[in-house]
Subunit: 363 residues, 4 copies
């Protein structure tokens, strides 16, 4: 596989650079007969797009999705590939022209040049966050299938920005929903933290600098039995999905790194009888045991580094390998976290639905 | 894929439970003409096996590998599948018999039962750490190819056990080697930390309890250009590989979660001219930018939870869903970390070689 | 995989029904730096489209391809996914409306309904020959890479229509080219046979009936060493590619079924020294031995059944399972063979390039 | 994929050369809870092995299968990988020693050398028919699942040897069974033809020569709905499976090449109401329409060339590229057809079960 396709049974292929005719995705393997809610796809794209609030990049991408195939005239899925495109409307290659010869630090310019021998000008090509348009659109479809066929709900939120962390327990993972998350432009459902995060983001922007943070995501309603026991453990595929997002640097499931500080007697999740089978008293496992969902909420976190495009002088080299100084211009996010929430949710949805179908095959 | 096979061009399939005739792996896609060092495979298995030191489980698995195919009479690889088996010699199903009806907390008993409708008795089946025998053997082959054909060196070590962490900078990632790691039974190359870790492990064992920790791993000599830009980013495949290991709960590359605390101006890795092309002054990127290796050392960390088998009473439920109390017996690790080092190294090797071959195809 | 994606390293995904916004393909894994000849892609689409001659369906599909991604401004491939779309311009769902409830004999109406529970109205959805637009476009790209990077030439032609067969040896497989093939609307490079085929096609059409035939295809210049020895033998992937085309019923490589009549002493291809290594005196092997190309021309044939849409009354059943009579109307091919030539060539190109890249990875 | 693994959900990996420790297969994705009939696996291996009758090679391979994993103590499948091995017992590398330097005509010696730079001595390595041991064992498992879970029966037989063909209609495809097939050592269920075939085989052997032929295979009881509509059409995967067998040169489904002689009005399979849904009056489609099974028997044929090892002098070249003469010795089949029957059945079973599981996922 050349890396732009993912999934075993729910198979998603994305295409498109930040320049060119647009970006998009082809979703193959969607169960037939689903009344597709196109507005719901658009809503997730709107949560991802630049310009949605004062906190994110002011690029004017409207990101309107068009569906070219895979639907019956009445809007139900046919079970055939669903092709979605979003045109590029605000590409400004000129803004990047004088950077063409310089490798932006902590960007993919150098690695692309070395790998391919050439690269897309302007804005990072496939390494651009614009590539995630197709993922979010595909994820929105997966989400609908998960919700309607399996009763699964996926909710992500910003858990930290720079050194501002939502206090432990301040967000109830069993009830937090998209309305609470989207109540604030930071997508942090804890109001006090959200305000501080906003300040941190605006302060960094004023400094021509950027900040990172952590997105948490929970999937509620996942039945017991999804996931494969060895290489394709559910958490393994979630980790891959998370680390495939631009700027992500870390992933945890359940107790994560903090769990390494506990003893087994503290960490183990005791089983107790539940109304529909065993449940666990705690959920350090993060809803997955031995690679397979155990019916408890799936809990993950994803770390995003500070955005690499900063507006101050930095040392770098040019294509000839000579020392140089770079100072980017343009319109960029000072913090990607608010926009990363729908991206993480989308990737979780893609992984869960793929495993749902794989388990169905075992029936 | 049913989950026991991984890789696109260097394809590894593992098989085997902790009971039954043995465990093993089939490695397909190994480059031909490599003089295979079987002793080196055995050495990695010895680093993985129980009973290797006073710190790990005293089960008597000798884990001697036999190679059944894929080699010419002179020991060179033919390019055809290399089948390796390791017989089970110390399976003691009786030790588990009275547990058959109880779901061990934070084990995979319940999820396997729910997924498959039945499960292997005794020791966890495919969820057992014994499954990793095949991975370590396959990884040892990958390692040889990486070393001989590409000059890549992979070194892992124990970076923390419980709350004992190697001090920042105390292990030099540019020079640490297997001899330094294996100098202490903990596989921590920092002697002071190693001693404290040993104490912590022995103390937990005396309490019938267990501890977790973190393995770090570095790959040096990886050339620029390995990795695919979107779903199969190099760090994404590394994350999947890491989270596919039993008991792993988290993964980071480069700056990881700590990097979310930095500003972009601190986090960005400035390029400077190097003898063979650009290098970076810092390595927060962990050797990967935009999913593609940049020629700097690849740096990852993997979190392992405390071992789930503890020797005290715990609440649980039985197969009928009724409340019960369980108190395991047997021979188990109080800490999996020393044995996890060769597992992590193996998974890193599998991912790197697969991407090396994928990039070669682009030639 | 859900079946709309093919290839290991040169990965093609097609999408689109005969109704809806269009059809297309995403090509991932194309080597970077290729100056893409878009006109050459269009030319192959023109060879595939209806309405190109008096012998094929008179539907007015212009089939103009648009490339949305994967190219640098100067037209070179970036190594990233190439997304191509062709809008649907002549969909006439009304023409099919009264057939919606009836299963057309030897079409996919019944099987789609059974598989998916619903199906695209009008023209067969993904089972329509219109789906091959994406394949032909993708194949045209593969062909350019094969030609420029490896010196491979692929030529297909119509070898039989109904009971009219090109006489044995009348087409020189070492020299036949596209100009000779396209000199006649039948795409048979043997003029006498071509004329008889034309008559047979027109006669069938006058009768409201249809005819089938055989396409032969040769790939010259394939170096020794492409193909994998077991499940992915080169001829195996070619067979799959051929049988994945609509209406195909058989495949042969080299001597095919006729070879079963020969004795080993007649069939074996003696090696003789050649200027660049061994060559074979005969080529019953069809350029492949043990699943791997041997440097001789690759020779295949593909059987296509007579088109299923005929304009006479036929017994069938309706969706309710009741006996019924159907008599299609509309504009259909009386013989698909002339249009099948670029389809076969495209599939051969996709398989060969994928294996070329797989072998390069072995380097 | 490196080519020794096949299947999407029922995933089979084979390994082993004709020399070395043995051959085998790993079957991943087998549904759990199946009471595995190991004797039935052995029976299919016995139908494949040399020495089973006076008509085939007299090599003394006993081919006893051992199952190392994937079974519960009571013999039920666990849903985990089933590892099967068959030791090599009659390898006689000495018999091949003087051939090491010569490329046997129509064997894979030259192509392996060119591809890998080295190759297994003696007997063809992975190109040897011995590789099919693993396939037949895996296929025997698939067959049991197909039979017990889906009611599918697969029966193959020898339809022609050299120019002796079973008369049209002489074998009733709706009722022919393994007992009838195995009643004669040729595996031709038509007694008159069987006797003539036997004579032809013995005559060829007496001449130091070999003959080829055709295997037909039918799968009865396949429900409507298996198969994917585009690249993974059911017939496409069957074609690939067939052409991946050693010595196969052609594949047909349903009417095959003969169907190209019919007009659409003759070829179309009229639907008529049946007891459990529509059935077709004829079955030129071979049980598949639009790539998807239609509930009628699936009918395929596979052409096998005459065995390449003949006992007369042939021109060839040596590794240095010089002209030479070769005259093989050893123990070889004069006709592979009787042994090819279980191979074809196995490959059909692998494809059908994989698609059965893929369709189940669509549930």
């Amino acid at each position: 596989m050349a890396g732009s396709t993912t999934g075993v049974l729910f198979v998603v292929t994305t295409w498109g650079e930040s320049h060119g005719g647009g970006v998009g995705a082809v979703v193959d393997g969607c169960p037939p007969g689903l009344q597709l809610d196109v507005a719901a796809i658009q809503r997730q794209l709107d949560r991802r797009r630049p310009g949605q609030s004062h906190l994110v990049s002011q690029r004017k991408e409207t990101d309107v999705v068009t569906i070219l195939s895979g639907l019956a005239p009445d809007g139900r899925t046919l079970g055939t590939p669903i092709s979605m495109t979003v045109p590029n409307t605000d590409a400004r290659p000129a803004a990047y022209e004088d950077l063409d010869d310089l490798y932006r630090p902590s960007h993919a310019d150098y690695t692309y040049d070395a790998k391919y021998g050439l690269r897309a000008r302007s804005g990072g090509g496939r390494a651009s966050a614009r590539e995630t348009v197709g993922r979010v659109a595909a994820g929105a479809i997966a989400r609908q299938v998960l919700s309607e066929r399996f009763g699964v709900q996926i909710v992500g939120w910003v858990d930290s920005v720079a050194d501002i962390l939502v206090p432990h327990g301040a967000v109830d993972e069993d009830t937090v929903d998209e309305a609470a998350v989207d109540a604030h432009a930071t997508r942090c459902p804890h109001p006090d933290s959200a305000e501080q995060m906003e300040e941190a983001i605006l302060e960094a922007r004023d400094d021509g600098d950027t900040v990172g943070g952590v997105v948490r995501c929970v999937a509620r309603g996942v039945p017991v039995g999804w996931g494969e026991p060895v290489f394709d453990k559910l958490e393994a595929d979630l980790a891959k999905a998370a680390l495939s997002l631009p700027a992500s640097k870390g992933f945890t499931v359940g107790s994560g790194f903090a769990g390494t500080m506990l003893r087994g007697s503290e960490h183990n999740d005791a089983f107790v009888p539940g109304p529909h089978g065993p449940v666990t008293r705690t959920n350090h496992s993060g809803g997955i045991q031995g690679g397979i969902s155990n019916g408890m909420p799936i809990r993950i976190a994803v770390a995003f580094k500070p955005v690499a495009t900063i507006f101050s002088e930095q040392d770098t080299v040019n294509r000839a390998g000579e020392a140089a100084v770079i100072k980017p211009r343009g319109r960029h996010d000072a913090c990607v976290l608010p926009r990363a929430v729908p991206m993480v949710e989308a990737m979780v949805a893609l992984v869960l639905l793929d495993h749902a179908l794989r388990q169905a095959a075992r029936g």
